[in-house]
């Protein structure tokens, strides 16, 4: 009997030792709120203005659907991450940014179906990425998950150890997260859920837009190092690799335009008016593409989109928005809050009868553009606690918020 007692004691000891790392990792992600189901999470976001930045899950689409379900917005912005800076503050009626929710038009078709099951918007502002329609970009059509978008998996359980190993998290940060720290960055007033939000102040607001608090901290210099290099070598970046989004000598795929047509018809059938737009890319890239003489497919796309017969605006060149300022970009294809306000302003200037007209807060965006010109982070309600740094090395004087 004594040998079995000893065996059980040894077993408990070894189990404790071998299970320590997974158990600590699990405790860390649980403490960080990574395991909150999406329903309660979005409710919490609405109640506390928390931003959600997960370091574990690829649940962008499921999260945006939950936002749409809970907000029941009249205006929805749709698109990839290039529309993430569209915010409730620019609108007078309930709004949601269901962005970063599609990587292709096929993906968009799946997402729109799910979105329409969750809510019935009156207007959809659909930001298209031109590379969705070209031959060299793969099309992705991922079904939405039904198995719980915050499900824990083996790889996720070991991820915190990877972060430690890679240096993404210091051992101090690891212990602080384990102890329940909810703010390691200190750049915004928002409460934070998820490791990314807690560590980097980077996350999605309750309206679905992105709060990029990292741009207010010195960590942005490292975070945007690649974007800085790519923009710095714009002509080579545009021409070097034909497989990139901006590559030359591309062609349009008729089936993908047909998929867009189906999405538009589906939205119309659901009673939503659609406003299409092509978001701007960073000015050095615009100049490089224009100079290459090998990007004629962009003009073809423009003509095809005009031919669709829906309200449509081409803002690819930020100069058309009255601002060719790199300082309003975070990288080569992500413009910031201010540029998004400029897009809305331009829509209303070009077309006072736009479907968006009844919903846009003209006075606020005009004041916002004046106040936040040359920046990517617009701090309404003093959400930012620090000034934006010059992470692209473009000589931007973004100043304090």
């Amino acid at each position: 009997m004594r040998e079995h007692r000893r065996f059980l004691a040894w077993f408990a000891l070894f189990l404790g030792l071998l299970g320590l790392v997974p158990a600590l990792n699990y405790a860390l992600v649980w403490q960080a709120g990574e395991l909150l189901p999406l329903g309660p999470l979005v409710r919490l976001q609405h109640e506390t203005r928390a931003i959600y930045g997960t370091g574990l899950h690829d649940n962008r689409r499921e999260h945006r659907i939950e936002i749409v379900r809970q907000r029941q917005p009249e205006v929805i912005a749709l698109g990839s991450s290039t529309a993430l800076d569209m915010r409730q503050e620019y609108f007078t009626r309930p709004f949601a940014c269901a962005c970063q929710a599609m990587d292709s038009i096929d993906d968009g078709e799946v997402f729109v179906e799910a979105m329409l099951r969750a809510a019935r918007p009156k207007v959809v502002l659909f930001a298209l990425d031109f590379w969705w329609f070209t031959t060299r970009r793969p099309q992705i059509r991922e079904p939405l998950r039904t198995d719980g978008a915050v499900q824990m998996t083996r790889r996720k359980l070991l991820r915190p150890t990877d972060w430690l190993w890679e240096g993404t998290l210091s051992s101090g940060d690891y212990l602080r997260l384990l102890a329940g720290a909810r703010d390691l960055g200190g750049a915004t007033r928002h409460p934070k859920v998820g490791v990314m939000a807690i560590k980097r102040d980077l996350g999605i607001r309750a309206d679905g837009s992105e709060m990029s608090g990292i741009r207010l901290t010195p960590a942005a210099f490292d975070f945007y190092a690649k974007a800085r290099a790519e923009i710095g070598e714009a002509p080579a970046f545009v021409l070097r690799n034909p497989g990139t989004r901006f590559g030359p000598d591309n062609a349009l795929v008729p089936e993908r335009l047909a998929a867009l047509r189906r999405v538009l018809d589906r939205l119309e059938a659901a009673g939503a008016k659609t406003v299409l737009l092509l978001p701007p890319v960073a000015p050095p890239l615009v100049r490089a593409m224009a100079a290459s003489g090998r990007h004629g497919y962009l003009r073809q796309l423009d003509r095809q989109l005009v031919a669709l017969g829906v309200e449509y605006y081409n803002f690819q060149d930020p100069a058309t928005l009255g601002a060719a300022d790199l300082c309003e970009f975070a990288d080569y294809n992500h413009s910031g809050n201010t540029m998004h306000m400029r897009m809305l302003q331009a829509v209303l200037q070009r077309n006072p009868a736009s479907a968006l007209a009844p919903y846009v807060d003209r006075a606020r965006i005009a004041a916002g553009i004046r106040r936040f010109a040359g920046r990517t982070v617009a701090s309404f309600d003093d959400e930012a606690l620090a000034g934006e740094v010059d992470y692209l090395g473009a000589g931007c004087r973004r100043g304090t918020n």
Binding site: R5, R154, L157
Partner: protein, 489 residues
């Protein structure tokens, strides 16, 4: 609640074991009542609506058993009661399990709506029919309702077996021995439970990742030679490690409560012929079919022709027991045919004096048996007969033969073959601690690779190995979990 779920491992099982021993201190009766309550909760956790069905089945069968026993004691032959009892049990099973299938044969399935199969109905029905038959034969001790209810509901075996026999279990439940927790039971039970868990979540669930796409491809008519073989071999390992893993977990959980269950698997892929395979595969079902179907049909007592017919009937019904579908019928028929051929071959060998077997001959026999079993699994796994036939066509090379440059599952298959053919099984590893009730012939059978170091002992080295197994299994459980294959039988 699956055995391989966190709620079972971290909440239900510890609580059940703790309460059982705490109540045992008070009285055995209280402990058994607690065990029934835990078992019914376990059953109802899946769907509480079927708890009354299970309770009703227990009460009616116990009453019928008592009536049969009393009338026999009074010198009567209560044939009608027995026939009514068996018919009632089979009617219940037929309604829930086979009504859709039979109605489908006549094109009337949609009119029945959807009939949800109550969990474990095949197991508890057969177990209780055996009890009624033995009551009629006078082979039943007159135990009370409480041990009988534990015998039927005992949660470690309730969902997917082993199929218990009242003679080996009721004395254990009634016994006043084992009222105190024995640490040996706990350490042996934990070892077997977690070995079983690892078999299920580390091996079987990984094999499913190869098997499922292959059978889906076959269903879509797009299966090739390589995919088919990968799929069927993966399934061969999946079903073995899944079901034997489940059985180990059941044995381990029962042992923690001081109860020994019968062995259900004993290295079946090591069998040298199909007769031996069925002595090693789902042993408690084989025993039940033999004792309550094959022998009453006449067994081998009425000549070779009748024996072969009896074998075919037994295996056809055994196939149908596994599921209401033509694929299961064909699987059963195929195994019936294998058994007939096997008996014929053995008779021929006896007559010709070829009974000595060389090592090469034994290896060849093992390989042939394994391949026969693999081919039969195609029908067991396929969703319909056309899918199974497409798989077999592809395996035979009738859809062309081509092999990819890299074959990632191959090393895994070779490793698992080595395990199932040469490594000691869970019960051989823990043999010194009498882990299960098993036939005498297996008690002393050595494994080809049995080594003293592989024999389980309560040592620090084994404690470390077990802890490593537990951590690996608990992490493996985080992937998308799959239900045990035998859950719906």
């Amino acid at each position: 609640m699956l055995f391989s779920s966190y709620v079972f491992i971290f909440a239900f099982l510890p609580l059940a074991v703790l309460c059982f021993y705490l109540l045992n201190r008070h009285s055995r009766t209280a402990a058994l009542v607690g065990l029934v309550a835990f078992s019914l909760f376990y059953y109802g956790y899946w769907n509480w609506r079927y708890v009354p069905l299970l309770v009703g089945s227990i009460l009616v069968n116990f009453w019928l058993g008592r009536q049969i026993q009393q009338r026999r004691a009074a010198g009567k032959t209560p044939r009608l009661l027995l026939a009514g009892g068996i018919a009632g049990n089979l009617a219940l099973l037929a309604y829930y399990k086979y009504a859709m299938f039979v109605a489908g044969l006549f094109g009337a399935a949609p009119s029945l709506g959807v009939i949800v199969l109550p969990l474990a109905i095949s197991f508890f029905t057969f177990q209780q029919i055996a009890y009624l038959v033995d009551s009629w034969h006078g082979n039943v001790t007159r135990d009370g309702l409480l041990p009988y209810a534990v015998f039927v509901t005992f949660f470690p075996h309730l969902i997917a077996g082993p199929i218990l026999h009242h003679r080996e279990m009721m004395p254990q439940f009634s016994s006043e021995d084992g009222r105190r927790l024995r640490l040996e039971d706990l350490s042996v039970g934990l070892t077997l439970f977690f070995i079983g868990l690892a078999k299920k979540v580390v091996i079987a669930d990984q094999m499913a990742l190869h098997a499922t796409p292959a059978f889906s491809a076959a269903a879509a008519g797009q299966v090739d030679f390589y995919t088919a073989w990968v799929g069927v071999l993966a399934y061969t390992f999946q079903i073995y490690f899944d079901f034997s893993g489940y059985s180990d977990m059941a044995v381990g959980a029962a042992r923690m409560l001081g109860i020994r269950l019968p062995a259900n698997f004993f290295s079946p892929y090591r069998a040298r012929n199909i007769i031996e395979f069925w002595r090693r595969w789902h042993m408690t079902l084989s025993r039940l079919l033999r004792n309550y179907l094959y022998i009453p049909l006449g067994g081998n007592r009425k000549g070779p022709g009748r024996r072969h017919l009896n074998l075919m009937i037994t295996m056809l019904l055994g196939g149908l027991w596994h599921g209401a579908g033509w694929t299961f019928v064909v699987w059963g028929a195929l195994h019936g045919l294998y058994l007939v051929i096997n008996h014929g071959w053995q008779g021929l060998r006896r007559r010709m004096g070829w009974e000595r077997e060389s090592r090469a001959g034994a290896a060849l026999a093992t390989l042939i048996t394994f391949l026969a079993v693999v081919i039969a699994w195609v029908f067991f796994r396929a969703q319909d007969l056309p899918t199974a036939l497409r798989m077999l066509e592809a395996m035979a090379g009738l859809r062309g033969i081509s092999l990819p440059a890299r074959m990632p599952p191959l090393p895994w298959f070779l490793a698992l073959l080595a395990v199932v053919w040469f490594a000691p099984n869970s019960y051989q590893i823990t043999r010194a601690y009498d882990p299960v009730l098993m036939p005498e012939r297996f008690r002393t059978e050595p494994a080809p690779l049995a080594r003293p170091a592989l024999a389980w002992r309560p040592t620090p080295a084994w404690a470390f190995a077990l802890a490593a197994i537990v951590v690996s299994a608990l992490i493996a459980m985080l992937s998308d979990r799959m239900e045990f294959l035998y859950y719906q039988f």
